[in-house]
C-alpha cells in the first residue's frame, strides 16, 4: 500500500540524532556521515556526548547527540538549528526540540515516550509531548521502533536486550530512506564489525533494512534528495580530526626518516590518537601508554634524546602536569611535539565539551622564560597539516612545539581532498655534519644546535635542565651567560616566524572596516558568518591564524588596514589579549564559553553590531 511520496530537492540539511548514551547514537551518526561523504556531499559533524560513559538511563543528562550538516553546497559548520530531529526517547526530545527549525521533521521512537521515560526526563507523565506537537509546526513521524524492531528479529536467538541494541540501525535505516542514502557502506561496516558474531550481524542488517523499508510502507509524505557538492575536483575521503592528527604524525616521521615514539596517558578527548597510532605499528611507530602525564612527556623526551620523533598528546589537565617537562625540553633543545586537544576547563571542567581556553597556557604556562612555538588546527582535516607542520618545526628547529586542537574538531568529521605522500615536503633533521669540533650548544645561522644521538662515537656529551654555558653546554651559573642564553632561546623561537608563509586572507577586502581574526576550530563558523555578512553588503574580511606563537611578522600590517578587529573565541578573550599586547589595534573580543562551538549566526550578529547595523 505504497502511497505516492513526494520528492524534494534540498541543497543543505542538518540532522540531529539524539538518544540515551547506550543507544548507539554516535555509531549511527558516524555511519550516516560516512555514507553521506561517499555520496559526494560536503559535510561537517558535531558529536556531543555526556562525560559519563553510561549516564543514568533515560535522563536529560544522559542524552548523547550527533549533529551532521550536509549538502550540495559548501559546508563549514555542523549547522545551527537542525531540520531533522531523531529522538530515541523523551529526554532526547526535551533537550533538543527547542533547537529544531520550525517546519522541521521529528522522528520519534514511540516506546521512548512511555510514562517511565517521561518521568526519567522530568516531564509531566500524564501528557505525551508527541500528542502536543502541532502538524502546523513540525512534520512528526511517530515510529514504534522498539516494537517494530523486536518483531523483525523475533526468530533470532537473541535476548530482548540484545534485540533492542540494534534499534539505532532501524532508526538509521529510516533516515537513509528519507534522504536517499545508499545502504552499502553501512552493510559493509556491519559485516566487518560483527564478523565473529553472525546472529548479531543478522540482527543489525535486518534492523537497518527494516527501517529503510518502513519508509516505503507508511504514509511518508516526502523524501529528500541532496545532490553531490561541487567541491574542488579530486579524490576525497571522510576524515575525523584525531585520526587526521595521528596520520599527520606518521607522515612527518616518515618524511623525516625518523621512528615515531608516541607516549600518552588516557585522557578525553585525546585518547583516540593513542588508539589510532597503536594500530599502526607497521609504520615503525612505538606507542607507550605511560603511568601518568608526566611520564608520557618525559618518556617522549627520552625517545627524542635517543633519536626518535618524540610525541605526546593530552588535554588541559594533562598539559598542566607536563609543564615542568616542557621547560626541560626548552632547555634541552630537542625535537618534541605536544598536542593539547582542548576541552572545557579549568580543572576537570567539561571533559567532553569543547573550548579554546588553553591558549595562554600554551604560550606562557611554564616557569622561567621558556618560549615554545604554538600552532592551531582549524578543522578536522587541518589536524593532519598542523601535526605535520609541528613535527617539521620540532625536528628542523630542535624545539618542543605545541599543537592546539579541541574536542570539536578532534571528534568532528569532514570530506578531505587528501594529499599524495610525494607532495609532502621532506623534513631534514639538523644532524651534526662532523666537519668541525662538536659543541653541544653551538648554533647555525638560525640559532639551531645540531642533533647528536647517543651511539655516535666520540661525540659523547651531557645535557640537562640546568642553565648551560653558551656553546659548550656545560653547567653555568654565570649571570651574564644566563641573560644571554635567555635572549638566545627567545630569539631562536622568534626567528621561526621569518620562515612562515605569507598570511592569506580567507575572504573580504585587504583593507576596510572590520577584520574578523580567529584561530583554531572557530574557522568554519567565522567563514560562514563573514560570507553572509559580505553578501549583506557589510565591509568585513576574514583572517585565520595557524601560528599563534610566535605571531606572524606580517600580521601587524594586515591588522592596521582595518578600523576594527573582531576576535571570536571560545574562551574569555585570550587571543584578544595577545593581539592587544602586540599591536596598536582596536580589538573587540567576542567570547562564548559554553562548551559549545560558535553558531555562524552568533558571529554574524556580532559583525552586524560592529557595523552599527
Amino acid at each position: 500500500m505504497t502511497m505516492t511520496t513526494r520528492e524534494e530537492k534540498r541543497s543543505k540539511v542538518t540532522i540531529h540524532f539524539a538518544g540515551d548514551s547506550g543507544d548507539g547514537i554516535q555509531l549511527a551518526g558516524s555511519q550516516f556521515t560516512l555514507t553521506t561523504a561517499l555520496q559526494g556531499n560536503d559535510l561537517s559533524t558535531f558529536p556531543d556526548f555526556p562525560a559519563e560513559i553510561r549516564a543514568p538511563i533515560g535522563t536529560v543528562a544522559g542524552v548523547s547527540g550527533f549533529q551532521i550538516n550536509f549538502g550540495s553546497e559548501e559546508i563549514n559548520t555542523p549547522g545551527s538549528n537542525p531540520d531533522v530531529l531523531v529522538a530515541m526517547n523523551a529526554a532526547a526530545f526535551k533537550k533538543n526540540i527547542r533547537n529544531l527549525k520550525k517546519g522541521g521533521i521529528i522522528i520519534a521512537n514511540e516506546a521512548g515516550f512511555d510514562k517511565r521515560n517521561l518521568r526519567l526526563a522530568h516531564m509531566d507523565e500524564s501528557v505525551n509531548p508527541l500528542d502536543e506537537v502541532r502538524a502546523s509546526d513540525y512534520q512528526l513521524y511517530r515510529v514504534d521502533i522498539t516494537k517494530l524492531n523486536r518483531e523483525a528479529l523475533q526468530d533470532l536467538e537473541l535476548g530482548m536486550k540484545e534485540r533492542d541494541r540494534s534499534r539505532n540501525m532501524f532508526a538509521l535505516g529510516f533516515v537513509y530512506w528519507l534522504f536517499h542514502r545508499n545502504l552499502d557502506p553501512t552493510l559493509q561496516f556491519l559485516t566487518h564489525k560483527f564478523q565473529t558474531d553472525p546472529i548479531v550481524l543478522e540482527a543489525n542488517i535486518r534492523a537497518l533494512k527494516k527501517g529503510y523499508h518502513y519508509g516505503e510502507t507508511i504514509e511518508a509524505v516526502k523524501r529528500y534528495s541532496i545532490e553531490s557538492a561541487k567541491l574542488k575536483p579530486g579524490t576525497y575521503r571522510n576524515i575525523v580530526g584525531n585520526q587526521a592528527l595521528a596520520m599527520g604524525l606518521i607522515a612527518a616521521s616518515q618524511k623525516a626518516g625518523l621512528n615515531l615514539f608516541y607516549a600518552g596517558y588516557p585522557i578525553t578527548p585525546a585518547s583516540d590518537i593513542l588508539h589510532f597510532l597503536s594500530r599502526h605499528k607497521n609504520f615503525n611507530v612505538k606507542t607507550f601508554q605511560a603511568e601518568d602525564e608526566i611520564a608520557a612527556i618525559t618518556a617522549a623526551i627520552g625517545a627524542s634524546f635517543g633519536g626518535s620523533m618524540g610525541v605526546t598528546a593530552t588535554s588541559g589537565p594533562g598539559m598542566a602536569l607536563k609543564g615542568e617537562a616542557l621547560g626541560l625540553a626548552v632547555m634541552l633543545e630537542l625535537p618534541l611535539v605536544i598536542v593539547n586537544v582542548q576541552r572545557g576547563g579549568p580543572s576537570t571542567g567539561l571533559p567532553t565539551k569543547t573550548e579554546q581556553a588553553d591558549l595562554l597556557q600554551a604560550v606562557y604556562g611554564r616557569n622561567g622564560e621558556s618560549p615554545i612555538p604554538v600552532i592551531a588546527a582549524r578543522s578536522p582535516s587541518d589536524c593532519f597539516w598542523v601535526a605535520f607542520e609541528a613535527s617539521r618545526m620540532a625536528v628542523e628547529y630542535m624545539t618542543p612545539v605545541i599543537v592546539l586542537s579541541d574536542g570539536y574538531i578532534a571528534n568532528g568529521a569532514e570530506p578531505w581532498r587528501f594529499p599524495k605522500s610525494d607532495d609532502l615536503g621532506k623534513i631534514q633533521a639538523p644532524y651534526f655534519s662532523g666537519k668541525e669540533e662538536y659543541l653541544p650548544y653551538k648554533r647555525n645561522d638560525k640559532l639551531v644546535r645540531s642533533w647528536v644521538l647517543p651511539g655516535q662515537e666520540g661525540l659523547e656529551h651531557r645535557i640537562g635542565g640546568l642553565e648551560k654555558e653558551k656553546e659548550t653546554g656545560n653547567v653555568s651559573y654565570d649571570p651574564e651567560n644566563h641573560e644571554e642564553m635567555v635572549k638566545i632561546r627567545a630569539e631562536r623561537i622568534a626567528r621561526i616566524a621569518d620562515d612562515y608563509p605569507a598570511l592569506e586572507r580567507i575572504q573580504g577586502p585587504p583593507k576596510g572596516r572590520v577584520l574578523v581574526l580567529g584561530w583554531g576550530s572557530t574557522f568554519g563558523s567565522i567563514k560562514v558568518a563573514v560570507r553572509n555578512a559580505i553578501s549583506e553588503g557589510l565591509e568585513v574580511s576574514q583572517l585565520h591564524l595557524r601560528h599563534v606563537f610566535p605571531l606572524p611578522n606580517d600580521l601587524g600590517d594586515i591588522i592596521s588596514g582595518y578600523d576594527q578587529v573582531l576576535i571570536p573565541e571560545l574562551n574569555n578573550g585570550q587571543l584578544s589579549k595577545l593581539i592587544r599586547q602586540e599591536y596598536d589595534a582596536s580589538v573587540t573580543a567576542f567570547n562564548k564559553i559554553q562548551g559549545l562551538p560558535f553558531r555562524a549566526d552568533e558571529v554574524l550578529e556580532k559583525i552586524r553590531e560592529l557595523h552599527g547595523a
Binding site: 607497521n282 608526566i294 625517545a303 651511539g455
Partner: protein, 340 residues
Amino acid sequence: MERNGTAYSSKDFSSDQDVRWCPGCGDYSILKQMQTVLPELGINRKDLVFISGIGCSSRFPYYMNSYGMHSIHGRAPAVATGLKAANPELSVWVITGDGDGLSIGGNHLIHALRRNLDINILLFNNEIYGLTKGQYSPTSELGKYTKSSPLGSIDHPFNPLSLALGADATFVARTVDRDPTHLREVLKRAHEHKGTSYVEIYQNCNVFNDGAFEPWTDKKQRDANSIILQQGQPLVYDGGNKGLRLDGLKPQIVDLTEGFSQSELWVHDEKDATKAHILSRFFNHEPGPDKFPRPFGILYSEDRFTYEEAMQNQLDKALELQGKGNLDELIRGKSTWEVE
C-alpha cells in the same frame, strides 16, 4: 672493551667537569667505583648513557664521560624508559636518590620496575634531602630530627627493597659506598642482568646525615649487624658466629658457636622470590644482637622478557600481519570518492 685498539681505563670515563659534591660525600666513592668497573663491563662508551633526576646524586652524569641527561626531579626512570624503548642498543643507567626516586618520582620508579626494561637503576640512599639542605626523606627513620621535623619525623619510612620486590622487580640488590669491592661486584651483576636492575646504595651524606649507616659500615659493628649474601652459600654472619635458618617461613637466628650445624642453615637462592621477600624485611632501624642482620648483595634476580623486546615483537608482528606501512594507503583510507 677495545677502543682504537686500546682497552678503556677508568680515566676514559671521567669527564672534564669539576666534581662538586661536598668533600667526604659518599657519592665520590660510588663515582669512582663506577668508573673503575666500567672498563670491565664491555660497554662501548658511545653506547653508554646516564640519566638522572634532581638531587645531589643526580649530578652524577655530568662527571661521566659518556652520553647523559640531567633531567627533572623524579622523572629519570620515565626518561630512561623512552630512551631505552626508542633505542634498545644503549646501555642505560638511571641515577637517583631516596627523595628523587622514592618520593617525587616514586610512581615512575615502580612502573619502570614492573615493565622491566633492560636498564640499571642506582638509588643512592642517604636518608635525607641533601641538596635542599637537610629535610627528612622518605627513607629517614621515624622520629628523626631534621630542619623540617624539629620534633621528629612522624613519617613511617619506605623499605626500598620490599617496595621494589612488591613492584615485581627482576633484580634487587643492596650495597654500600664504603665497601668498594662489594659495590663494584654488585654494579657488575646489575649490568649483566637482562631486565631492570635495581640497586640500593647506602650513601653517607656527611653534611646532613653523617653516620646514618654506621651500624653497617663501621668496622666494629658491621659484622654483627650485616650479612653478605652469596648465591648457594649458607647465611652466615658475625665472623662465622651466627647464622640464619628457616623454620617454615619463619627466619631464625642461630648461634653457630653452640654446635649448630651449618648444614641446617638457610642457603641463599637469589631466584627464590619468597625468600627474597623475607630477607628484604630485615629492616629494623636499631640493630641489636637479637635483631636480624641487614642483608647486602643480590636478594633477588629473575629472568623475564624485557619491555623493549616485547615492544619490538609487536612491531615485527604488525609488519607481518599488516605489511610495511604504506603512507599513501594510510592517508587514502578505505573509502574514497571522486569529484570531477
